[in-house]
Every structure is written in structure tokens, then in C-alpha cells.
């Protein structure tokens, strides 16, 4: 399958004003339909029920923006970027300061708010983003002539650039990986790495590990798993229950949590792995929900929606991270003769998850070269052919499912020990979707891509946590935009894992 979504760019033709106006009118009409109810009316709670507050000017503004935007696009496509660049540049210059002022407090903000086209802050930001994109495109086309315009018209500007970048990244990976690794190892000692940044880093690395684990199932074995978070939950609850009920430590429970999750994976996978593609996806989604519902309702064991709290923290070879250890024992700082610093524990947690993630990565890279890894990839490519070559599809898929689940279990028990509190709330479907998105956005099967996507999808929203309400909106939009821009993922490449000659060749 090739990337044939866009028509081949052709030379700028004659510009039909009527055609452009018609298109713009259609866009305005569609916008009218989109905005009439949901943007034009807001349901408000008033005493004794609900009432609708009208915002006709928002609808009007939306329609005008759609009309002008579509008209500008038509100009661009006809190879006439100059007026568009000017108009959108001017509107940028008008909108951005207004928006900035309206975000502050005081009287000027009120004035700025009335001058802005929409009453909702988010909608204004959205409009600004659209105008900026339009201005950039038009400006580029103006500066670099019709070729850039034609590229913009092809709908995927810079797609080839990104492909080239991906191949450069692939070649540079040999050198870049040690550098990245060093950066990751030294990260806690960098000057800006305070508690908040470290917490975000731990979260990102957790998702990197989950992404690498799911990559075994989705990327290597080609099994679409929409319920991966279930195994994460099994690992987390396995550790939490063992620790709180039997008083076992983190390091003792970690392998056990992994085994439990792998067992759950094999048990759930056994009946359904002969299903294909989307059927498997929906069944795994169902299993994910089922496990969450069981956790929610099995009060006697899981404490239901209240969750399990007081989960013990991990220790450094038996040395806890506490200010004043109980009589006769030592803690981390007394043993090494250091001053007590609460951040020590965070740094330690960071290294724990980093080590776990790197082990996952190393495991994946190694197992790809083993017979079972090759069998996964063969099954992904063609199940019928691999079956005729003597690969047992069910057992092979079960190993992939079980091993992927095992890593989720490890990550889950880390999650439990880091949070100290877990509840079914943490294991909703959206988590599975996010992990899958990390795998797919990064470029299926690309280990570095997973890191990139995790930083992009988890790290950035966490840093912009102040914009709480727009966070998830932007998250969804980013997923859509990246996929439409690069359908095979950011760093997509298909590289043969086995070669007949040269580096990494098969030994006979």
C-alpha cells in the first residue's frame, strides 16, 4: 500500500473566483451546522432546571472564520499565496496580543475578551492556531514560490522530509543511542531536574516501558490489543495485595507480579487468539473492561472503588528511604552517611523504572532474533504461510501475549509502589488507548519511536498541566494530526531483522 491519499501536485492553474467562493460558502454552511447547537447554545444550570444561554456571535464568528479560511486555502491552492499571507499575518498580529491580554486579569482583559471573536478561551486559541498554520503555509509558499505551494497543496508538506529524517535517525541510532542513554542516566543530576520534572520523567519512562512491552504484542506479533491496561492492573494489584496482606517487599513481589500478569495474559489469550484483527481488538477491549469491573466490585479482595492504600515503597537492598529509621535498623542516608533528602527516593524510583524499561528493550531486541521472535514476525506478515511452514500459530501468539503481559505486570507493580495507592480508576480504557497510541504514533516496531511518542504524548501534556481543561482536547487533536500527517508513525521504517550477509547476518 502506498501513500496515495493526495493527488499529484500540478502546476497552479487559472484561478476561478466563483469556484473558490462556492467552496468557501459550503465550508461556512458546514460550520453553521457544526456550531449551531453545540457552540451557539450553552446549557446552564438555573434554579429549577436547565436553561439555554445563546451565543449567536460565536456562531457568526465560526462561520466567518470557516469562510475566510477556506477561501484562503483556495487562494493557496491556486498558487496565489500573497494575499493570504498578508491577511492571515495581520489577523495573527491582531489576535495573539488580544488573547494574551485576555488571559491576564484586570480591566484590559475584559475589554480584550469582548474584542475576541469567541467567548470561549479554547476556541480562540484554536482559531489562532488555524490562522498561524495558514499564515505559515502562505508565507512559505510566497517565499519559496509555486513549488512549496504545490507541496502544501499535496496535503502532506514535509512528508518526504520526515521520511528522510526517519532514515537519518535510523542510521544515527548507532551513535545516538549511547548519547540518549547517557542523558537518561545523568538526567536526575541535571540542574533543572527538580521534583516535578523528575516525577514527569518517571511517568514518561513508565509509559516508554509499557510501549515497549505492547510493541511485542502489536508491533512484532501483529496482535491488536486494546486491553493492555488489564495486565498493568493485574501487576499493580498483585504487588499491592501481596505487600499489604503478607508484608512482602517490592523486589520479592516484582517477579511474582510479572508471572501473575503473564498468567492472566495466557488465560485470557487462550480462547480468543484464533480470532483475527478487529475481532481480537474488541475482545481484548472487553477483557480490559471486565478486569476493571471485577476490581471495582470484588470488595472483599480489592476494596472496590476505594482502592488499596499504604502500599510500601521499594527499598535499596533493604535500606528504606525514610528520615528516621526504626531503632536498630539503618536507612539509605544513614548507611551511606549522607544528609537526608526526600528527593533521593524519587531519584531511586527513576533509576528503578529506567532499568526496568531498558531490560524490556534489551529483551525485545534479543528475542526478535530468536526463533520465537522470528515466528512472531512471520505470523504478523502471513499467518497462512507461516502455518504451512510448521509454526503453531496459537502457541506462538500465546507467548507474545504472555510476554507482553508480563512486562505490563512489572510496570504495574512499579506503578503501585510509586503511587502508594491504587484504585480501578487508574486502569480505564483510555490508558490502553494511550499506550497503543504511543506504539503506533512512534512508528510500529520502532523502539526509538516509542520513546519519542511517549515524550510527546505524556511529557508535554504533563508540563502544560496548568491548561488542565484543554489538555485532553489537545491530546486527541495531536493523535489525529500526527496520524493524518504520518500514517505509519513518526519514525516508521521497515527494516529486515534478518539479513543474509553483512552485519546481523544469520549464521548457518
Amino acid at each position: 500500500m502506498t501513500d496515495a491519499t493526495a493527488p499529484p501536485p500540478s502546476a497552479p492553474g487559472p484561478f476561478h473566483v466563483r469556484g473558490a467562493l462556492k467552496e468557501a460558502g459550503l465550508a461556512a454552511f458546514v460550520m453553521l451546522g457544526l456550531s449551531l447547537a453545540l457552540i451557539g447554545a450553552r446549557i446552564d444550570d438555573v434554579s429549577g432546571g436547565l436553561a439555554v444561554r445563546w451565543r449567536p456571535f460565536d456562531v457568526l464568528a465560526a462561520v466567518v472564520v470557516a469562510f475566510l479560511g477556506r477561501l484562503g486555502l483556495a487562494f493557496l491552492r491556486a498558487g496565489r499565496p500573497a494575499p493570504v499571507a498578508l491577511a492571515s499575518g495581520l489577523s495573527c498580529a491582531a489576535l495573539a496580543p488580544l488573547l494574551a491580554v485576555s488571559a491576564t486579569g484586570g480591566g484590559a482583559a475584559d475589554w480584550a475578551r469582548t474584542a475576541l471573536p469567541f467567548s470561549g478561551f479554547a476556541v480562540n486559541v484554536l482559531v489562532l492556531v488555524v490562522v498561524v498554520v495558514l499564515a505559515l503555509r502562505a508565507g512559505l509558499a510566497w517565499r519559496f514560490g509555486a513549488r512549496a505551494g504545490a507541496r502544501a497543496r499535496a496535503g502532506a508538506p514535509g512528508a518526504e522530509t520526515m521520511d528522510r529524517l526517519a532514515s537519518v535517525a535510523r542510521r544515527a541510532a548507532v551513535h545516538a543511542v549511547p548519547v540518549l542513554l547517557l542523558a537518561a542516566v545523568l538526567f536526575p543530576f541535571l540542574p533543572f531536574a527538580d521534583r516535578r520534572i523528575l516525577d514527569i520523567a518517571i511517568l514518561v519512562v513508565t509509559y516508554v516501558m509499557l510501549g515497549w512491552g505492547l510493541n511485542i504484542v502489536v508491533g512484532l506479533a501483529g496482535l491488536l490489543d486494546l486491553g493492555y491496561v488489564a495486565f498493568y492492573a493485574v501487576g499493580a494489584y498483585a504487588y499491592a495485595l501481596l505487600a499489604t496482606e503478607m508484608g512482602l517487599g517490592f523486589w520479592l513481589c516484582l517477579p511474582f507480579a510479572g508471572v501473575m500478569a503473564a498468567l492472566a495474559g495466557v488465560l485470557l489469550g487462550f480462547p480468543v487468539l484464533r480470532l483475527r484483527g478487529d475481532y481480537l481488538a474488541i475482545v481484548t477491549l472487553g477483557f480490559g473492561e471486565m478486569i476493571r469491573i471485577v476490581l471495582l466490585n470484588w470488595y472483599e479482595v480489592t476494596n472496590g472503588p476505594d482502592g488499596i492504600s499504604g502500599i510500601p515503597k521499594p527499598t535499596f537492598f533493604g535500606l528504606p528511604f525514610v528520615r528516621s529509621p526504626p531503632e536498630g535498623t539503618e536507612s539509605f542516608h544513614t548507611f551511606f552517611g549522607l544528609a537526608y533528602a526526600p528527593i533521593d527516593r524519587i531519584v531511586f524510583l527513576y533509576y528503578v523504572i529506567l532499568a526496568m524499561a531498558l531490560i524490556t528493550n534489551q529483551f525485545t531486541l534479543r528475542i526478535r532474533k530468536l526463533p520465537v521472535g522470528r515466528a512472531w514476525e512471520a505470523l504478523r506478515e502471513d499467518e497462512t504461510a507461516s502455518r504451512s511452514l510448521g509454526i503453531n500459530p496459537r502457541n506462538t501468539k500465546l507467548t507474545a501475549f504472555g510476554i507482553g503481559a508480563m512486562f505490563a505486570g512489572f510496570a504495574g507493580s512499579f506503578f503501585a509502589t510509586r503511587q502508594g495507592f491504587i484504585s480501578p480508576e487508574s486502569f480505564v480504557f483510555i490508558e490502553s488507548a494511550v499506550i497503543l497510541a504511543i506504539v503506533v504514533l512512534g512508528g510500529m516496531g520502532s523502539q526509538v519511536g516509542v520513546v519519542l511518542a511517549a515524550v510527546l504524548l505524556i511529557g508535554l501534556p504533563e508540563i502544560f498541566r496548568d491548561l488542565q481543561e484543554f489538555r485532553m482536547l489537545a491530546f486527541g487533536a495531536t493523535m489525529v494530526l500526527i496520524m493524518t500527517w504520518r500514517p505509519r508513525g513518526l519514525l516508521a521504517h521497515r527494516e529486515p531483522t534478518i539479513r543474509l550477509s553483512g552485519k546481523g547476518a544469520v549464521r548457518r
Binding site: 500500500m1 502506498t2 501513500d3 496515495a4 491519499t5 458546514v30 451546522g33 457544526l34 449551531l36 447547537a37 453545540l38 457552540i39 450553552r42 446549557i43 432546571g49 436547565l50 436553561a51 439555554v52 470561549g120 479554547a122 502489536v218 491488536l224 480462547p271 480468543v272 484464533r274 480470532l275 483475527r276 484483527g277 478487529d278 475481532y279 474488541i282 475482545v283 477491549l285 472487553g286 477483557f287 473492561e289 471486565m290 469491573i293 466490585n297 497462512t384 483510555i430 488507548a433 497503543l436 497510541a437 503506533v440 504514533l441 510500529m444 481543561e469 484543554f470 485532553m472 482536547l473 486527541g476 487533536a477 495531536t478 493523535m479 489525529v480 496520524m483 493524518t484 500514517p487 505509519r488
Partner: protein, 308 residues
């Protein structure tokens, strides 16, 4: 009371009403899956948008002082169908069309992204709180009585069932008898060949999304009328259940989607009636797994012939 026939009938009526909602949403999944081969994960959100447009339309009519219920219902129905259809169209045009020839996983991720986006979009615009609506259609008539236990069939339930049956009939006719339906079936079988033979594939796919959105919007309206309260999150679970229903009935088959919807609705209602409410979703998913193990293509689906 629990063991009586009357109790069973009562639960069954609830189940069929719920099943009608699932079935209406499931048709959208099945149509889109049949023609584009993707799980339109954002379809549940279209249903949610339909419910929101309905409540806004009801409140508007109430504000305008229109209180004659049949006319109000008709106006709300038309407004909801039209405005939600625009969302269905726009969803396909901007999120899915650029990805039509991309790997299927890309389309799935886009659909999940759109689902997250639309949920938060509605939450931002309309607020996160529940939106309750006063009862629009009240009353009903008694069909059975056992001591103090009265089984009633409300006018609302009759309205929902009639509406569903009429819509099913109309859409079966559209797909089976009209030129549009023929083009849809042609695209379903072989998109490239259909376009060679003069079928406007883009338009057909757009109209398929519009049809799905119209049915989902009706489901949203029915949900609002039946439960009286909505929030921005209702699309997720309803969407998953409806997709389950579509798979259960055999994805790609319109009667299958309706049958699957009815079955899921009945299972849920009867399970909550006789066992525990908490595990009704587990029951629905377990039935799905069982059916798929023994009939991998669903109840009314046709098996895929696999070529090497």
C-alpha cells in the same frame, strides 16, 4: 416476585428498549466497517453529540413556548438528525478521508483520537455536569398485573420501538432498493472496481457516515428521553456496547447489528434483573467472547474466504 412471568416481561421490555438504542448505534458501526473496513471508534461520541443536540433543541422549544409534544418531538428529531449528520460528515471528511489508504491501525488511532477530542470538546463547551431533562412523554398502559406488581408498557417505550422499527425499515429499503444502496454495496465489495464503473466512492462513503450519524443521533434522542439525564461521557460505554452488538450480530450485516443490539440489551436487562447489576457488562462481554469462539464471524455474518 422475582420468579414470576410478569417480572420477566417487565425486564424484557426494558431490555428491548435498551437494545433498540444499541441497535441504532450498531448499524452505524456495521455500515462503516462494511464499507471502509475500520472501527469508527468516535461513533459513540456522535451518539453523545446527538443526545446533546436533542437536549438543546428541547430546551429551545421550551423557551419558545412550544409545548405540544408530538410537534416538539418531530422538530427535535429533525433538528438532531440534521445537525448530528453534519458532525458525521465532517468526521469522515477531515479525520478519516486522508487516511483511507493508510494502514488500518492508523485509522483506528485516529478514531480513538477523535473520540477523545469530541468528548473533551463537548465537555469544554457544555460543562461536565449531568444534564437532566424533565419527562417529555409520560404515562402508559397496564399490560399485566400480579398482586401489587404491575407491568406497564409506557407510551415512551412504544414510541421508541415504533421509531426504531420505522427507521430500520427505511434504512433496509435504502440499502436494498435505491441507487445509493446499490453503490454502497458495490463499494463494500470492491472500492476500486466500483470507482472504475462510475460510482462516486467519496460521496458514497460520506453518505454512509451521514446515515450512521443520523441513526446514532436518533439513539441519542431516545437515550435522553428514556433515561432523562445525559453527560459528555455517555458515548464511550454505549459505543463499546454497540460495537460489541455489531460484532455479535456479524459485522457488516445490518439485520445482524439490530439483532446483536437486541441481544446485548436483553442480556444486560435480564442479568441486572436476576443477578447483579454490577456485572451486567461482564455478562455482555462474556456472551460476545463465547459467540466469537464458536462462530467467529458473528451470528449473521458471512465467513471471510481467505486466499493465499
Amino acid at each position: 416476585m422475582l420468579g414470576t412471568f410478569e417480572y420477566f416481561v417487565d425486564q424484557a421490555i426494558n431490555g428491548i428498549t435498551l437494545g433498540a438504542i444499541y441497535g441504532l448505534i450498531a448499524i452505524g458501526y456495521t455500515l462503516v466497517y462494511g464499507i471502509v473496513g475500520m472501527i469508527n471508534f468516535a461513533h459513540g461520541e456522535i451518539f453523545m453529540i446527538g443526545a446533546f443536540v436533542s437536549i438543546i433543541a428541547f430546551l429551545t422549544l421550551g423557551f419558545l413556548g412550544l409545548t405540544w409534544v408530538p410537534l416538539a418531538l418531530l422538530l427535535v428529531l429533525v433538528a438532531t438528525m440534521l445537525l448530528t449528520a453534519v458532525y458525521g460528515w465532517a468526521l469522515e471528511r477531515f479525520a478519516y478521508r486522508p487516511l483511507r489508504r493508510s494502514p488500518r491501525l492508523a485509522a483506528l488511532i485516529t478514531a480513538i483520537g477523535m473520540s477523545i477530542f469530541l468528548q473533551n470538546y463537548v465537555q469544554l463547551l457544555q460543562g461536565a455536569r449531568n444534564k437532566p431533562l424533565q419527562q417529555v412523554i409520560g404515562g402508559g398502559f397496564e399490560i399485566m398485573r400480579e398482586g401489587d406488581y404491575v407491568v406497564t408498557l409506557s407510551y415512551l417505550q412504544i414510541f421508541i420501538l415504533l421509531l426504531t422499527v420505522v427507521l430500520m425499515a427505511v434504512f433496509t429499503l435504502v440499502i436494498g432498493r435505491t441507487a445509493l444502496g446499490r453503490e454502497q454495496r458495490a463499494c463494500e465489495q470492491d472500492r476500486d472496481m466500483a470507482s472504475l464503473l462510475g460510482v462516486n466512492v467519496d460521496r458514497t462513503i460520506s453518505l454512509t457516515f451521514v446515515m450512521g450519524a443520523v441513526l446514532a443521533s436518533v439513539a441519542g434522542l431516545v437515550f435522553l428521553l428514556n433515561y432523562g439525564v445525559i453527560d459528555f461521557y455517555i458515548g464511550f460505554l454505549a459505543g463499546i456496547k454497540a460495537f460489541t452488538a455489531a460484532v455479535l450480530g456479524g459485522i457488516g450485516s445490518v439485520p445482524g447489528a439490530m439483532l446483536g443490539g437486541l441481544l446485548i440489551g436483553l442480556i444486560e436487562a435480564l442479568w441486572s434483573g436476576y443477578f447483579t447489576v454490577e456485572y451486567k457488562d461482564v455478562a455482555a462481554f462474556s456472551i460476545l467472547v463465547l459467540v466469537l469462539i464458536f462462530r467467529p464471524t458473528g451470528l449473521l455474518g458471512t465467513p471471510d474466504v481467505e486466499k493465499v
